[in-house]
Amino acid sequence: MRNFYLIFLKELRSYFNSPIAFVVITIFLVLSGYFFYNLFATFSTVSFQVMTQPMLARQYNQLNITEMVVRPLFSNLSLFMLIMLPMLTMRMFSEEKKSGTIELLLTYPVKDSEVILGKFAGCMGIFTIMILLTVPCFILIGIFGEPEMGVIVSGYVGLFLMGAAFISLGIFASSITENQIVAAVLSFGSLLIFFMMGYSAGFAGESVGSILKYLSFMPHLYNFAKGVLDTEDIMYYFLFILFCIFLNMRTLESKRWRG
């Protein structure tokens, strides 16, 4: 437990000792802020038009701040996470391999699981700060409209779990190469595949389709954005994270086996 905590703190500290955390968080917030502004501005223009010309209301059958701002904002945030989180995770093991520090780390009396979980938690720390900084957007929405609180809460739970899944996969990708760019491309590419997999569900037979649909991030995210906290979706992320951490432990272990 102490080892886990020490590695967690070290990782957190090294994010702040380098410009990585600052740059990633800033770009993420700029993107989120910009899209939030767009969504919000569109919504208020439309609301204004509807107010002056009630006839238009029929076109917008759901003139509702939750539908028009909150939900799209969550799916935008998940997209930005898809782009930014591989940048956070790519250095985790690759850097240690390249600089050789892994040689010392793995010869300390520390369990592989403590190393991986410590790094995972360090990344989660930065990620948590990152998404907490988007809360003001929702506060603004709350001030100017009446969004459904349930949707916001479950949306955040969904984002958080999804981020954890992205991070676990990213750290795994970085454990199989000593090149940070390769790690980033690997994790971005495979995350994108998981993201899009659901689209092909329609034309891949029924049984394969339902598997694809289950494996894809999309439907699970969609449930959270609807305000539904389903154990099945939560389980999906937990299994995903566990599987990545398991693979990660295997790669470290195989290093000890095969050198």
Binding site: T101, E103, P109
Partner: protein
């Protein structure tokens, strides 16, 4: 304390080390000697559980490096050859981090850190980030992290490389003082270092063990093919031919030309006739030359090392 048995490591098809066997007693300082690419680092990486061996066994303090890796790692301090450190940490912060990972008691961490910082003369850089340090200071930080938990076994891969002369002396005496209580394996290319601080030497070449012995024994063993230096006043050509005629002398050469025809000659004796040296002075006396100096030339560890390593190749 350390038992290595038939250790073999292959990198794919390439040779790492081949059938290496040796033991190190508790409290001993063992020097690991060999040319570049001999397999020193490979052996140390296996001993420190960083890498598994292809075959063979290695035990530290009774624990197998493969089966009981965690127990082994609790008991060692390791300084890798490239001294990989986290460049974005300050020296004391880094040492506290390592102390924690190595299981130093929470209440002792601060005390241990200041202790090793004194030992490795690091107080001058206590505010600096490791990335800003010079090579020598990095080396010292590397040594400090190896020592931080006061481990039973120290494995140091070229510990004095990159240090200034004064620091080399200090670190050597530090390592020497650790011996007795601690078991130390260190690899080096600096041969006097081995005779200075090691009780035993392992010479390894192209992955194979060439010799295991004390530095003194190694020297004595090889000095049997002795060389003698004489300084004689007399005509050079005649001295060369007369001395060369003595039974048991294999070669005579001029080592140094001096004034008044007094030259220094190097005489090599045949391996099995090392007492032929006693026949040299009578020849000189008979010829009425003056004998200014006569002494055996010891082989330095360098000579022995080169000899062992090249002999190995001829075989």
């Amino acid at each position: 304390m350390i038992e290595v048995e038939n250790l073999t490591k292959k990198y794919g098809d390439a040779r790492g080390i081949n059938d290496v066997t040796f033991t190190v007693e508790k409290g001993e300082v063992l020097g690991f000697l060999g040319p570049n690419g001999a397999g020193k680092t490979t052996t140390m990486r296996i001993l420190t559980c960083f890498m598994p061996a292809t075959s063979g066994k290695a035990k530290i303090a009774g624990f197998d490096v493969f089966e009981d890796s965690l127990e082994v790692r609790k008991r060692i301090g390791y300084l890798p050859e490239s001294v990989p450190l986290y460049t974005d940490m300050q020296v004391p912060v880094y040492l506290e981090f390592v102390a924690g990972l190595k299981g130093v008691d929470r209440r002792d961490v601060k005390r241990r850190v200041s202790h090793v910082m004194d030992d490795c003369a690091l107080n001058a850089v206590s505010k600096k980030y490791i990335g800003e340090l010079s090579k020598g200071y990095r080396q010292r930080v590397g040594l400090a992290q190896a020592l931080i938990n006061d481990p039973e076994v120290l494995i140091l891969d070229e510990p004095t490389i990159g240090l200034d002369p004064r620091q080399i002396i200090e670190i050597r005496s530090l390592i020497k003082s650790l011996g007795g209580r601690r078991t130390v394996i260190l690899s080096t290319h600096i041969l006097p270092e081995v005779s200075m601080i090691c009780q035993r030497v392992v010479i390894i070449n192209e992955g194979r063990l060439v010799a295991v012995d004390t530095p003194q024994n190694l020297t004595a063993q090889l000095q049997r093919s002795q060389q003698i230096l004489i300084r004689v006043g007399g005509p050079e050509k005649e001295v060369l031919s007369e001395v060369g005629k003595i039974n048991g002398v294999s070669r005579v050469s001029v080592k140094e030309n001096g004034a008044d025809n007094i030259n220094a000659y190097l005489i090599e004796l045949k391996k099995d006739m090392v007492d032929a040296g006693k026949d040299i002075p009578p020849v000189i006396v008979r010829k009425n030359w003056s004998l200014h100096e006569m002494r055996p030339v010891g082989m330095s560890l360098e000579d022995i090392f080169i000899k062992l390593v090249t002999e190995e190749k001829i075989n």
